[in-house]
Amino acid sequence: MKSLFLLVVAFVAVRSDNDDNAARLLASKSILNQFIVEGKELTVEYSIYNVGSSQAYNVELSDSSFPEEDFQRVSGSLNVKWDRLAVGANVSHAVILKPLRPGYANFTAAQVKYYPTEESQAVQVGYTTAPGEAGIVGLKDYERRFSPHIVDWATFAIMTLPSIGFPFLLWYRSKSKYDVKHKKN
């Protein structure tokens, strides 16, 4: 009986440590592209959810995995902060970049820093999910597969013109001569 009571006390003590009335943030980072092409936009979306039992304060998201020489910033900022994040609320943030070089890129996690309660002095550091490795397709290869090739088709039409146009011209000339003769008669 006494051991059972001690077990219950121990269990309660451990459990209450988790429900400390603090904020807990889960963050995800995802790449929304179907294809990542050099020179075309790369869309990165971050989502932060507060699954804790208190508001999170001074939430800071900073992503240093896109060096300036490899990714040009088109829109959005890679270092942002929110003043507060309510319980059960979620925010999303998007950044648009342009890859400057083809090849393999490893998309690593971004860092999220926040204060779990209003009085806490220690900042809590967390990381988003990492999308992982992906290939950046070169622009030429992408265009070869997906562009409408209008110029190529126009060139093809011009090249087929002699082989179709020449017999047509012969037929037309003889036809017009025959018609004139017929009219004369």
Binding site: L32, N33, Q34, F35, V37, K40, E41, L42, T43, E45, L61, V74, S75, G76, S77, N79, V80, K81, W82, D83, R84, L85, V91, S92, H93, A94, V95, I96, F146, P148, H149, I150, W153, F156, A157, I164
Partner: protein
């Protein structure tokens, strides 16, 4: 006795707004930069990014902004002093081409809108600090007709005309 308490009450009321930490922006000068997804193959959902730089006439630096995005109130992220960003995304079908007005509120406006929404209305009567118009020209999902299809049709047409004139001659 009654007048002195009245004067005291009036004095307190007069000082109260100064004591409150309401950070409002008077006469905001806004420069905005807007991005919308242009090609569907570059993103599986249409993303709108609105970046604003706000300068207040009253020199307010600790401004907190909230934006009304498609009926949904979100806090604006701060990417520097006076620089804010609001971004949202949805399926391509749900964000067709057109102009979307994004209303920005300060804390007072945000609380007013929340109160209105709780009482049933959609909060559209609250005046925002400023509004940014986002012009979206639609997300391009590919050409209507593939050029290969057009080329095949032209080739078939040419062949058909030749065949018809040939059978006409032969008859």
């Amino acid at each position: 006795m009654a007048t002195s308490t009245k004067i005291l009450a009036l004095a307190v009321l007069a000082v109260l707004p100064l004591l409150m930490n309401a950070s409002t922006c008077i006469g905001p000068q806004v420069t905005s930069n807007v991005y919308t997804t242009s090609e569907a193959s570059m993103s599986i959902s249409t993303v709108f990014v609105v970046e604003v730089a706000v300068k207040c006439n009253n020199g307010e630096k600790d401004l907190l902004l909230f934006a009304d995005v498609n009926g949904h109130m979100v806090p604006a992220t701060q990417s520097g002093t006076g620089k804010f960003q609001v971004s949202w995304s949805d399926e391509h079908k749900k964000l067709p081409a057109g102009t979307y007005g994004v209303r920005f509120f300060d804390e007072e406006g945000y609380n007013a809108v929340r109160k209105e929404k709780r009482s049933g209305t959609d909060g559209s009567t609250v005046t925002p600090i400023f509004t940014v118009n986002v012009k979206h020209s639609g997300t391009w999902t590919g050409p209507y007709v593939q050029t290969e299809f057009v080329a095949t049709c032209v080739a078939l047409l040419v062949w058909y005309m030749a065949y018809r004139s040939k059978s006409f001659l032969m008859s």
